[in-house]
């Protein structure tokens, strides 16, 4: 019999979407059933995440899978950090799913044409383009063959969209809840495998090219991460995070540093920290709008989460590593935002701001105090929602204006005032205009930096203010060009884009923008929550005590056994 307890909730965010993914794959012919299952699964996931946020506030909820005692069995841990990340992620996932479903339904008007063209699929590119053009003109639609082909490719693979999206959700949840390094690796692999498929959805030339780069980079980071896991096991004889936290301080410092750097390198690629970030702005913008939105919001943040977790829990403070991280955070901010300033495509511009703002979170992690960690956690929560909302808005801009290039957009403030508001609010939030949540997160980081007081921390404080201003500059430039300047003829005459945006697409975007505003309204309690989360992260014993309630057995690590064996 199952005994119901708080711990029963912990595996749900992983199990439910995985199960639903299987169901939606089996029911791939019934689009409506697929939609219902996906929404229900994510709602259930959100419910359990919300419950976990409340429960974890009383102390981390630990579930031992299969009832195998902890160091041997697998455990899932939902402490405050995991729970809050999980809740924000599911809200974002749900909004994006809603958006993509609406997009699917809107596009399904073109489905008949797409079906007719599916038979032509196997023929050569030129044949296909010509056929598409003919099919288009027969139906009286004035579309150029290339756009038509793109549309077809976006409509066709909708059957695999839902399962893949749910697998992505399960992977994100698994990474957040993992109680040991190897499950963290598995969680990463689940979400990465799903992201490979989502990124190359439809298989257009651009997406395959971008996807190839993305897959290669992601695989490299996984290999490095796995090597780090192997090293950690060789040094300590365990991969359980709580046990690692107890044993790693006894390990030889240079070996420990090696493990730490390997893990940081692996997570750094995933989180797109500066010298390892070049892949991101090249691969994200080519994907469909909702996919880009969910990637930008979640995937890099899972890397940031892993860095926060391992840095605070596993490794004793190491000034040299922190200093390196500070320098990298500064470089990430500045290089990222300078890249954003130079872009004239909104999607690429936002991808660069995404890289840039990862720097803020790394800044918080590198300062390594309780206050700095709290600010970093708050900033992650804020950034997930705002960045996703902005990418969804850009998807709307692309529909309305027919392009994401700032040179071909214009006059949208007059043509679509609602869209202008939807862009303006998260843009100002990202730039950190008071009193929005971005401002609060940045103030927290700056205060922590000033309190740290070292020269490098001061440089970082100045650097993050400059970055914030440059973000404002880049976004205001985008605002001026896309919304404020005179509209180009194409947009006014309605030759490109759609005159009216479908409500199903505006709805989720507005909800997400509203959610980011709600983060500002509840910033007080939320920041207090982040502070409590940071407190349990940095005090060094809460996590271990939660996993080993009976005073953990420290055991003998492999390394000790090796030395004693080596002596005789």
């Amino acid at each position: 019999m199952i005994e119901w307890s708080a711990g029963t909730l912990v595996p749900l965010p992983v199990l439910v979407p995985l199960f639903a993914a299987g169901l939606t794959l089996a029911l791939h012919r019934h689009a409506r059933v697929q939609r219902v299952i996906s929404v229900l699964a994510l709602l259930l996931m959100m419910g359990s995440a919300a419950a976990l946020v409340v429960l974890a506030d009383q102390g981390a909820v630990v579930t031992v899978i299969g009832d195998w005692a902890v160091p041997v069995g697998i455990n899932l841990v939902a402490d405050r950090l995991s729970a809050i990340m999980l809740l924000v992620s599911t809200v974002v996932l749900l909004c994006v799913l809603w958006y993509s479903m609406a997009q699917g339904m809107v596009d399904s008007a073109a489905e008949d044409r797409a079906n007719a063209r599916a038979e032509v699929w196997a023929q050569g590119r030129q044949d296909r383009a010509r056929e598409a053009a003919e099919a288009g003109t027969e139906l009286g639609a004035d579309v150029d063959p290339e756009a038509d082909e793109n549309e077809q490719r976006e409509v066709l693979p909708i059957a695999i969209y839902h399962p893949t999206f749910l697998v992505l959700a399960a992977g994100v949840a698994a990474a957040f809840l993992a109680g040991d390094l190897f499950n963290l690796y598995v969680g990463f692999e689940i979400l990465l495998a799903a992201s490979y498929v989502l990124l190359t959805l439809g298989g257009t030339a651009d997406r395959i090219r971008a996807g190839s780069v993305y897959v290669v980079v992601a695989l490299l980071s996984s290999v490095v991460f796995l090597a780090g896991v192997g090293m950690a096991y060789a040094a300590t004889g365990t991969v359980n995070l709580a046990q690692l936290a107890e044993r790693l301080p006894d390990v030889d410092p240079s070996v420990r540093l090696g493990i730490q750097l390997l893990l940081l390198l692996g997570f750094g690629i995933k989180a797109a920290i500066f010298p390892l970030s070049a892949w991101l702005p090249d691969s994200y913008p080519t994907a469909p709008a909702p996919v880009t939105a969910v990637f930008a919001g979640l995937l890099t943040k899972v890397g940031v989460y892993a860095i926060i977790r391992t840095q605070t829990l596993l490794f004793p403070p190491n000034e040299a590593v922190d200093r390196v991280l500070l320098v990298l955070a500064l470089a990430t901010m500045l290089v990222g935002i300078l890249g954003a300033v130079a872009q004239d495509d909104v999607k690429r511009l936002l991808s660069f701001t995404l890289v840039s703002h990862i720097g803020y979170m790394i800044f918080g992690v590198a300062l390594a105090g309780e206050a700095a960690t709290a600010a970093a956690i708050f900033y992650v929560v804020h950034h997930i929602t705002v960045q996703t909302a902005l990418f969804l808005v850009v998807g709307l801009v692309e529909r309305r204006g027919g392009s994401t290039s700032l040179d071909r957009l214009g006059g949208l403030a007059k043509l679509a005032p609602g869209l202008a508001i939807l862009f303006f609010v998260p843009a100002m939030n990202l730039a950190g205009i008071p009193p929005l949540s971005g401002f609060l997160g940045k103030v927290g980081l700056l205060q922590a930096g000033v309190r740290d007081g070292s020269p490098l921390a001061w440089v970082l404080v100045v650097g993050s203010v400059v970055t914030s201003l440059l973000t404002l500059y880049a976004l205001v430039k985008a605002w001026n060009k896309a919304f404020w300047q005179a509209a180009p003829d194409d947009v006014v005459s309605g030759r490109v884009g759609e005159a009216r945006l479908p409500l199903g697409l505006v709805g989720p975007t507005a909800v997400l923008v509203g959610f980011s505003l709600a983060l500002t309204v509840v910033a007080g309690p939320l920041y207090a929550y982040a502070e409590r989360a940071a407190h349990t992260l940095t005090d060094g014993h809460s996590y271990v005590e939660a996993v080993f309630p009976d005073g953990g057995d420290r055991g003998i690590g492999e390394s000790d056994a090796t030395t004693s064996e080596g002596s005789h």
């Binding site: 190897f182 495998a193 395959i208 090219r209 190839s212 695989l219 290999v223 192997g230 096991y233 064996e565």
Partner: protein, 139 residues
């Protein structure tokens, strides 16, 4: 020692292949790299001082550590799935991959096509005098 050499060789081969320009070679390179890490994981269980749990002698001090083997099994399955995906990418993206290195076979194939971009690319590869030679096949 042998294990260390194996890991080194696999990693070196893998890195070499990953640095090539063809997607197929990159996929093979990653197969090697993931094998290198898998062997490393097995080595993390202490292959040097442990033995198979057969022979009736089941002394926990000397029997093989099952945990790294379980890790490796999982990692192999993941690497296998991703390799298949990369192979699919290399097939689908063959004509569109602009970083590819044109092998002789690919060159002759592309020359037969009427894609003006590719002809220019080949002209560059052959040097300035080449375009005249290859103008005939293009309609």
């Amino acid at each position: 020692m042998i294990v260390a050499i194996i890991v080194g060789l696999l990693a070196a081969g893998g890195v070499y292949l990953v640095l090539q320009r063809e997607m197929l070679r990159i996929a093979l390179g990653f197969a090697l790299l993931s094998h290198a890490v898998n062997v490393l994981l097995v080595a993390a269980g202490g292959t040097g001082r442990r033995d198979q749990p057969l022979d009736g002698a089941v002394d926990p001090q000397t029997t093989a550590d099952p945990l790294p083997q379980a890790f490796v099994l999982t990692a192999i399955v993941i690497a296998f799935a991703i390799t298949v995906y990369m192979l699919a990418l290399s097939v689908v993206g063959r004509r569109d991959d602009d970083t590819r290195d044109l092998s002789d076979a690919a060159r002759s194939e592309v020359v037969a096509s009427d894609d003006p971009l590719d002809v220019a690319e080949i002209a560059r590869a052959y040097g300035a005098a080449a375009p005249e030679i290859h103008k005939e096949p293009t309609p």
